[in-house]
Amino acid sequence: MIRVELPPHLRTLAGVTDEVALEVTGAATQRSVLDALEARYPVLRGTIRDHVTQQRRPFVRFFACARDWSHEPPDAPLPAAVASGAEPLLVIGAVAGG
């Protein structure tokens, strides 16, 4: 199981109160994890990445194992600790006012 920690607004939207655990088929990448996340919580489609281009929304960042993965290619493997479920993939709203 892969663990994903969502920012508060998206937890509310998805109706979850804690991090979510997802079954991901194949390699654990940004794309495969987000595909699984959106399949389980369709309301999150378009909130983390654009509906059409699949590009990460500008104020959303991905962190894992104390490293910024936001600018890695979407099909690059995530760290083994994320793939094994030892560490979560963090989805974070950039600090930009509000």
């Binding site: 607004h9 939207l13 399949a39 309301v43 489609r45 378009g46 929304r57 930009a96």
Partner: protein
């Protein structure tokens, strides 16, 4: 007993204010969608339990929410949890994609940017939701960058009415200070095929074939801030209003100027008359008197607050030109709030109620057609929109 439900969108959530027909005691519910910008909340005229809300954030984009119990509970249409990860994703309620199909769409052109260069169309948010007058599952969405979308399945999926953006003048449209938004959608109660929309800063447009084709209706408007003050498009229309019994008569609050058309927008004439300033955002019409019109004058396009620190609604009982200040119960000193374009509404009880919200978080109500006012709430987040449902 009859009652009213006031639907309030704010910078940080939505609120539902409910009262019986006396409109003295108010039940305040919310915030719903706390922390999100709620540009607009509006109920279906044909099913008052059906309410739509536009929820957005700069971080996470646009979501449409729907209530089927009058605003008590909400859900994103089609956005629930699927039973298995293998199932194809659903939940298109936030998918607003400009139509570029060869059959119905047009090539996604560019529009004019602030500096006069051309700029690509980019979806940002839904400003206004206009439910159909007859079908609770049909709803229109006016969006930024300006376009009109329609859903016929209760907000689950959306299709652009691409004839508006693609009719030819699109490359001349430009953003106003708030963005290039389609903020007003009026459905003609006498002709289900007629739709009016308004765009900042492009102007007013009309369709006579249910949204398939469109044309500008801006003859008579004069805007000194554009190179050709009487151009076909480029006018910063802030709001349109009509009375259901007389839908060919339109009232407009433009950036500057209050305007009136008696021929469904074919031509306009100024009716600012004795207003102390004719800049403003809101305009609305009394529920039972088609010639009684309300505006809230704002000092200027750079000073977005009332003149002299006095919050005054102005009422004309003559369809414009002759205006009277309504001040009783409104702050008459040190008041520097704004009233945004979607933040005034009327109920249709026998004694017509008028409601408006301010950027200071107050929602004021008048139960005597504007003669006197009282706040329903004083301390909400900045109010973006106010709509009213009159309940049987």
């Amino acid at each position: 007993m009859s009652g009213v439900r006031v639907l309030v969108g704010t910078r940080k959530g939505a609120f539902v204010l409910a009262a019986d027909g006396k409109r003295k005691q108010w039940d305040v519910r919310g915030p719903f969608f706390a922390g999100w910008e709620i540009y607009h909340v509006k109920g279906s005229p044909s099913d008052p339990q059906r309410v739509y809300a536009s929820q957005s954030s700069s971080w996470f984009g646009q979501v449409i929410q729907r209530s089927d119990d009058g605003g008590k509970t909400w859900a994103a249409p089609g956005g629930g949890i699927t039973k298995s990860a293998e199932r194809m994703p659903q939940g298109e309620s936030n998918k607003f994609v400009y139509d570029v199909s060869p059959q119905t769409g047009k090539p996604l052109t560019t529009h004019q940017w602030y500096d006069g260069t051309q700029h690509p169309w980019e979806f940002k948010r839904v400003w206004h939701l206009e439910p159909s007058l007859s079908d609770p599952d049909t709803v229109y969405a006016g969006v930024e960058d300006a376009a009109l979308f329609r859903s016929t399945d209760g907000g689950t999926t959306w299709q652009e009415l691409a004839g508006l953006r693609g009719h030819g003048t699109g490359p001349q449209w430009q953003p106003g200070a708030g963005g290039m938004c389609l903020h007003t959608v009026l459905l003609d109660p006498g002709d289900p095929r007629r739709i009016y929309v308004a765009i900042s800063a492009a102007g007013a447009f009309r369709s006579d074939d249910a949204g398939r084709t469109w044309r500008p209706i801006n003859r008579g408007l004069k805007s000194q801030y554009i190179p050709d003050p009487t151009a076909e498009v480029g006018h910063c229309v802030h709001r349109l209003a009509l009375h259901p019994a007389r839908p060919r008569v339109l009232f407009m609050q433009k950036h500057w100027d209050v305007m009136r058309s008696d021929d469904a927008g074919e031509s306009w004439r100024e009716v600012s008359g004795n207003l102390p300033t004719d800049f403003g955002f809101v305009i609305d019409v009394h529920a039972h008197e088609p010639d009684t019109v309300y505006v809230a004058p704002i000092k200027s396009d750079s000073e977005h607050y009332p003149l002299d620190g006095k919050l005054r609604v102005y009422r004309s009982r003559t369809g414009g030109n002759e205006w009277e200040a309504l001040t009783k119960g409104l702050p008459q000193r040190d008041c520097y709030v704004n009233i945004l374009r979607d933040a005034m509404a009327v109920d249709s009880l026998d004694a017509c109620g008028i409601y408006f919200g301010t950027t200071g978080g107050q929602v004021y109500a008048s139960t005597d057609a504007g003669d006197s006012w009282a706040p329903i709430v004083r301390d909400l987040p900045p109010v973006l929109s106010v709509e009213v449902q009159t309940l049987p």
